[in-house]
């Protein structure tokens, strides 16, 4: 699953590295808000958990088995910022010690499995929780959907990156259909297992599930005469200084448009190869047919033979657009949550804050 060296060209690797570095920088700040000074030991143990749970194999049947990727699970259990850090550490250790994933492709691996998967999962999860009623079943349903969606989206972004900076010319439409098709199937497994795992944690320690914090009933104290009074909420962390988001969003939009422009320029370099492309697509189709014949998307790449350059650009644009939309959605969801957090915890003395900590 991890991308090795030599898969992507240098500019895309560097760009993905920059994206990953930015996401890590943001997450380092955010994780302190999620876990305060407990970040290092707790995130370290969660990283060990993710590392271990990737070794837990789930039989699919017919002798094959898969394993969890864990991005969505980590986001729901410990929050998106910590999840990005955890996945970064896991991927980095895998690349450095186990040679699993290339060092030059580390940025791409972190961007795909650590950032895109986590953000998409978190955005879907928060979005669904917002619409669904507040109960445990909604959390597991949203967990399934979040993990399920995150896998094919990461695969689509991978294909988009490959269209931008892959080292080999492949019919992107076919690859997109194949990647999304296969990863939709993988995503079902990831979704079911994530939902079951979140459900298992919810049943025992609902307070540990970061994504289900809204479900925790407010603390009520029984007074001497036996009546219940609501305890005052403990003071939250210091409110973060609000920063303007518009420049960030505009920069993202500019990057998207730039990327799309690059794709079209890249695609239009080879308008003369169309005839041979069409011929070879017959061959490619024959190769692919037995594997993806039953996939509903299996025909898209083949149908668009005649305008492959268009489908390349389209694939990239869709990938970039989805990423941008998901990122914006995740950001808005985060801002909403942070807003409510800081509003609830503006008062309270230091002693109670200390006492409230487990």
């Amino acid at each position: 699953m991890h991308v090795p060296d030599g898969f992507f060209n240098a500019p895309v690797s560097v760009a993905a590295g920059a994206v990953a570095a930015g996401a890590i920088a943001v997450s380092l700040r955010g994780a302190r808000r999620e876990l305060d000074e407990r970040t290092a030991p707790l995130a370290g143990l969660v990283a060990a958990f993710v590392f271990a749970v990737q070794m837990l194999t789930f039989p699919v049947g017919a002798g094959t088995s898969g394993h969890l990727m864990g991005g969505a699970l980590a986001a729901i259990l410990v929050g998106p910022y910590t999840a990005v850090l955890v996945l970064t550490v896991v991927l980095g250790i895998q690349a450095l010690l186990f040679a699993d994933g290339g060092l030059s492709a580390l940025g791409i691996n972190i961007t795909l499995l650590g950032v895109v998967a986590v953000l998409v999962a978190w955005a879907v999860f928060r979005g669904l929780l917002w619409t669904l009623p507040d109960n445990r079943r909604s959390v597991t349903t949203a967990s399934f959907a979040a993990a399920f969606v995150s896998v094919p989206v990461a695969a689509a972004v991978f294909t988009g990156l490959y269209a931008l900076g892959g080292t080999t010319e492949v019919p992107i439409g076919t690859v997109l259909a194949a990647m999304v098709g296969v990863h939709t199937a993988i995503g079902i497994g990831e979704g079911v297992i994530t939902a079951l795992t979140v459900g298992a944690v919810l049943a025992v320690r609902p307070d540990l599930v970061h994504g289900a914090r809204g479900l925790v009933r407010p603390l009520r104290l029984r007074t001497a005469d036996g009546s219940l009074v609501p305890a005052e909420p403990a003071a939250g962390p210091e409110p973060a200084v609000a920063r303007p988001t518009r420049p960030l969003w505009l920069a993202g939009l500019a990057a998207t448009v730039l990327a799309a422009g690059l794709i079209s320029a890249y695609a239009s370099e080879k308008p003369d190869g169309l005839e041979s492309v069409a011929e070879e697509h017959g061959i490619a189709e024959a190769e692919e047919k037995h594997r993806f014949a039953d996939s509903p998307l299996g025909d898209y790449g083949v149908r668009d033979i005649d305008n492959e350059s268009l489908s390349v650009g389209l694939a990239g644009l869709i990938g970039a657009g989805v990423t941008l939309a998901a990122g914006t959605g995740a950001f808005l969801a985060l801002r909403r949550r942070n807003g409510t957090d800081t509003a609830g915890g503006s008062t309270g003395d230091r002693a109670r804050q200390e006492a409230a900590r487990p």
Binding site: L45, V60, E169, L208, G273
Partner: protein, 253 residues
């Protein structure tokens, strides 16, 4: 993975390669990988020379070839993908053994195979000659955010513990007659994962409290500051420096 595998990645030794400070080796390996990746794939001879360079490092570090090759088996999934490329890719077709293969696809497969193999070999050599703790200190020395290094060091410290718990849970499941066959077993396995998460998280809380009681304030004290002198830097950088001319020649030719 059985518990304790993390420690078998390292082969203790007292060779010149082992003796180099970790951060110089990290810079060297990263530089080498960058040089390899940016070499044009048509320069087939250059990759042979890179492999010779790595073989030289392995010989200097007394890492046996069998160990290196066994550890390199990790790249087998990409090899299968790379072997598919000649069938999938577009471009001119060539006839080899009666199969119609794409020429750019063949080059692409070679590109991935050569560069991924060299990258994996370099990483394996680094892990084999450097202690994990030194590697983390080296990363900190290279100005990686301290929080990230702390998370990584906690992960390294506890991954064998957590994996051991998973191992014991598997034994407990199997001693009760559980056999994982098909998706029906998912629920039991997911409950295992959930229990593992709770145990890991609670252990993290206990570790944190234990650290607080020993005066932890959010940062870890750096006890031994590793420094590298000019000779050590020169020795470490010799690897990418030796590789660079081949890369430049590959572009020039």
């Amino acid at each position: 993975m059985t518990p304790g595998r993390l420690h078998r990645l390292h082969r203790p030794g007292s060779t010149p390669v082992h003796a180099l400070p970790a951060h110089t080796k990290l810079v060297a390996v990263f530089g080498f990988v960058v040089v390899v990746v940016s070499t044009p794939r048509e320069a087939v001879w250059a990759f042979g020379l890179y492999a010779l360079l790595l073989a030289g490092v392995a010989a200097l570090a007394r890492v046996p070839a069998g160990f290196l090759l066994r550890r390199m088996a990790i790249e087998i999934p990409f090899v299968t993908f790379a072997l598919l490329l000649p069938f999938l890719a577009t471009g001119e077709r060539v006839e080899i053994l009666g199969m119609s293969l794409s020429e750019p696809g063949l080059w692409g497969a070679w590109n991935i195979l050569a560069k991924a193999t060299l990258g994996v070999a370099a990483s394996v050599l680094l892990a084999a000659t450097t202690e994990i703790r030194d590697l983390l200190l080296g990363l900190q020395r290279l100005r990686l955010p301290p929080l990230l290094v702390q998370i990584a060091s906690f992960m390294i410290r506890y991954v064998d513990v957590v994996a051991g718990e998973l191992h014991r849970m598997r034994i407990a499941r199997e001693s009760r007659g559980f056999q994982a066959r098909g998706p029906r077993a998912w629920k039991a396995l997911a409950h295992t994962a959930g229990a593992l998460f709770i145990r890991s998280y609670e252990r993290g809380e206990r570790v944190h409290l234990a650290m607080l009681s020993r005066g932890y304030s959010g940062t870890m004290p750096v006890l031994d500051r590793v420094t590298a002198n000019r000779t050590q830097w020169a020795r470490a950088v010799a690897l990418p420096a030796a590789a660079l001319p081949f890369c430049l020649l590959g572009w020039a030719l």
